[in-house]
């Protein structure tokens, strides 16, 4: 889809639009041909007004006709029952509204093909419903909608035609009526078997949250209470942006709670720095591997040197190399000690990130630990994590994959718009129960 929208260029083959071969070498070309793309993270300009975002993408004109554009925005907004006003600032909109803004903008530019990349990840159930209504309406008006998603239910409900891609290959095309098992089969090559669950839960309490309150510009969370046991795995479920990230970052010390206590071994850590949390044996593996987790341009060895604590002045290259080689073997990283981190594949980067964890930890916080990885890498990562649990390390993780949450957690917290559920026993719950909570029902 990035090729269709002009971000990348195809190395071979051709694109036929209305039976004519076209060359798309930039996003501008694509829009001119009537192909518009809605990215997973909206490509807009948050500090500017809605109307300016509209005008920016339009070619030509030193003095744009603001009045007319304003009218157009209002008209389009009404047509699709959106609440977008021309003079609001984009940064005050929710992710869902920013999506709506992008759709309006692309329609206004006259696109005939609309590509959406995982559009339902960051938005509420209401907004999703509205989005789907809009898409159906657009399709009935003769537009082509290309909808990229890994959520089977959405695909089954919305699409007239489905193409399944797996690891860069087109596996097959399907017409309705759809059969979920067949999809799973095509996507994963075999149906996933939930392995036997072993819990390493121990009774000793290592971490306790008392009446925690968290706030950011979007969410207000209140009165979160939790007692975490050693060796326990807690899964955080919910639509992305429902508060899981705040919760996780609060446990790392990167986000300060507005009130409440974080008791670790009886001591209150609320308001303490990230370094203090780290010293207490809490490790955080962010989802954005190359933005927050690893350092582009540094080698694997350099990463391992940085991750350990050193008192001496000079780097001991020999022992660093030895340690790196040992970890490369232990974690099956495909690379050499001198490979730069960006030369590794995503799965190998994730393994490197895990290999960087120090030996004795009391709590590991994982953000989407298996996102973007193939099924075998995912299973391998979890086996590594379970080993840690046996040593008494607790794990808290977020995932947008419910199966992963049910399979690997001991207890589950569901997040919805800043609300946090009571801990749910993962052995007795079902996808349906969690799904309802995630969708905002049963609170």
């Amino acid at each position: 889809m990035k090729i269709l929208s002009g971000f990348y260029q195809a190395e071979s083959g051709e694109i036929l639009l209305d039976d004519k071969a076209v060359k798309i070498s930039s996003p501008e070309d694509a829009v001119e041909l009537g192909i518009g793309m809605l990215h997973q993270d909206p490509l807009d300009f948050p500090p500017m007004k809605v109307i300016d975002n509209f005008l920016l993408g339009r070619p030509g004109g030193l003095f744009p006709n603001k009045k007319e554009v304003e009218k157009e925005i209002i008209r389009l907004s009404k047509e699709f029952d959106f609440q977008i006003k021309p003079d609001t600032f984009v940064e005050t909109l929710t992710v869902g509204e920013r999506q709506q803004l992008e759709i309006l903008r692309l329609l206004w530019l006259g696109v005939k093909v609309l590509i959406l990349d995982e559009p339902t990840t960051g938005i509420s159930a209401n907004q999703k419903e509205k989005l789907f209504t809009t898409l159906v309406k657009l399709a009935s008006q003769g537009l082509t909608v290309i909808f990229v998603s890994h959520k089977l239910e959405e695909v089954e409900g919305l699409c007239n035609h489905v193409a399944v891609l797996r690891q860069g290959k087109l596996v097959g095309e399907v017409e309705p009526p759809y059969d979920t098992d067949r999809f799973v089969n095509m996507m994963f090559g075999k149906s996933i078997e939930v392995g036997s669950k072993t819990s390493s839960k121990q009774s000793v309490c290592s971490l306790k949250l008392e009446n925690i309150g968290l706030e950011d510009y979007r969410l207000r969370m209140r009165d979160i209470n939790l007692e975490l046991n050693c060796g326990e795995v807690i899964g955080l479920a919910g639509m992305e942006g429902s508060g899981q990230r705040l919760f996780l970052r609060m446990l790392t010390g990167l986000m300060r709670p507005v009130n409440g206590k974080i008791l670790i071994d009886g001591k209150d850590f609320a308001g303490k720095s990230y370094a203090t949390f780290k010293k207490a044996g809490i490790a955080y593996l962010p989802a954005a591997r190359l933005e927050e987790g690893l350092i582009t341009g540094l080698t694997l060895t350099e990463h391992f040197i940085l991750s350990e604590e050193h008192r001496e002045l000079f780097v001991d290259q020999k022992s660093a190399m030895d340690l790196t080689e040992q970890r490369i073997r232990e974690f099956y990283i495909k690379g050499t000690p001198v490979s730069r981190i960006e030369q590794l594949s995503g799965g190998n980067q994730q393994r490197a990130l895990l290999a960087l964890l120090r030996n004795k930890l009391s709590l590991i916080l994982l953000e989407h630990p298996t996102r973007g990885l193939d099924i075998e890498s995912a299973i391998w990562i979890w086996s590594k994590m379970k080993e840690r649990c046996k040593e008494g390390t607790s794990i808290v993780f977020t995932s947008s994959d419910l199966d992963e949450i049910i399979q690997y957690s001991d207890r589950i917290l569901v997040f919805f718009g800043g609300l946090v559920s009571k801990p749910i026993d993962a052995n007795t719950t079902t996808v349906e129960e969690l799904g309802q909570l995630i969708g905002g029902k049963g609170w």
Partner: protein, 357 residues
């Protein structure tokens, strides 16, 4: 994907890219020479003649070589200091002002200690240390402004350069003016007993040469061999990830600024004690800006800085000879500017090539 470990190898493409890299860099230098020659042709001068004159101006006589070295000392110290901030991903544009403050503190110390019973050598050492302190303090300002005020260090440094120069001029015409009449040529000269002596029959002080060599080695070892250097590099590449990995980024930003300021202060002090002997309005003498150019060319590799700095110093000194051809002595600036531009452009081209692979 199989889970069996496969000892990966450095792909052949990497080795190839080292050669591409070298080729691109050399062609950048050739392009810079070509464009400077074009400028010369436009100015109706013989390019080859001009280059020859620059060489004669820089290396024609032994004494000229020592003059080049005397100019190399402050330049290489400034460059070395800037490698700390560059490695941390910071653009310390305020270098010139930091050198100026080094000079101000040095002169200030000389004025304070002028009539004490301390040995002259001792006074000079104390004055140079004071200069180092001045550089550190002035360099911490853009660092603090960046960390606590959210001011980009480029703008902070630029503003502080102006302030430093204004303070120098105010001192020259105000509190520190020469007895009788204030002069824009600077404050009163320091007593000859405080000046760093030249090696007999040359224009260079041995002390400054030794200090420069020690500092160059110090920077190379710090950046390439220590945990400190590696952490600084990590911050420069990705400060967010470095923080998550457990590096206290704020402290290291300030350390980088402080160390760079230390070098700037020493540069200013050396200029005062071995060249200017007074506080002049242009106390930094452009070494801060020239140091930035050299540091950019060196591209984080401290090993190269003495050589590139020497080349730039030679250009600056050799230039003087051009007057006799009826050419303006700013020509070396043209060549230096073109060099930096083409090397930066070459770097961009190289990155594009690597990406395609």
């Amino acid at each position: 994907m199989s889970l069996e470990p496969q000892a990966g190898r450095t792909p052949a493409i990497l080795k190839k890219s080292t050669w591409i890299d070298l080729g691109i860099r050399i062609s950048a230098i050739l392009m810079a020479l070509l464009f400077t020659s074009l400028v010369l042709v436009v100015a109706k001068a013989q390019p080859l003649e001009a280059y020859k004159n620059i060489l004669i101006g820089a290396f024609g006589t032994p004494i000229k070589i020592t003059t080049v070295l005397a100019s190399w000392v402050p330049l290489v110290i400034a460059t070395s200091g800037l490698l700390f901030t560059f490695t941390a991903g910071l653009w310390n544009i305020g270098m010139e002002g930091q050198i100026t403050f080094g000079a101000i503190f040095t002169i200030g110390a000389f004025r304070l200690l002028d009539h004490t019973s301390l040995a002259p050598n001792m006074v000079t050492i104390l004055a140079i240390l004071a200069g180092a302190l001045g550089g550190i303090l002035w360099a911490l300002l853009p660092g603090l402004m960046k960390i606590f005020g959210g001011v980009n260090e480029i703008f902070g440094g630029l503003g502080l350069n102006f302030v430093a120069k204004t303070v120098a001029i105010w001192l020259i015409f105000g509190p520190w003016k020469r007895p009788g009449v204030a002069s824009s040529s600077g404050t009163e000269w320091i007593d000859p007993k405080f000046r760093l002596p030249f090696i007999e029959g040359t224009n260079i002080s041995l002390t400054t040469l030794i200090v420069a060599i020690i500092l160059v080695i110090f920077v190379a070892v710090m950046l390439k061999g220590t945990h400190f250097g590696l952490k600084l590099k990590a911050i420069g590449k990705n400060d967010k990830a470095a923080y998550i990995l457990g590096i206290p980024t704020t402290r290291y930003f300030l350390l980088a600024f402080g160390l760079c300021g230390l070098f700037a202060g020493i540069t200013g002090a050396i200029l005062v004690t071995s060249k200017q002997y007074s506080l002049i309005p242009d106390a930094g003498a452009g070494y801060g800006f020239l140091g930035l150019l050299v540091a950019m060319l060196v591209n984080y590799h401290p090993i190269w800085s003495p050589f590139i700095a020497f080349f730039f110093a030679a250009l600056g000194i050799g230039n003087v000879e051009l007057q006799y051809m009826g050419l303006n002595t700013y020509l070396s600036g043209v060549l230096q500017g073109f060099l930096v531009l083409f090397v930066l452009m070459a770097d961009g081209v190289r990155k594009r090539l690597v990406k395609k692979h």
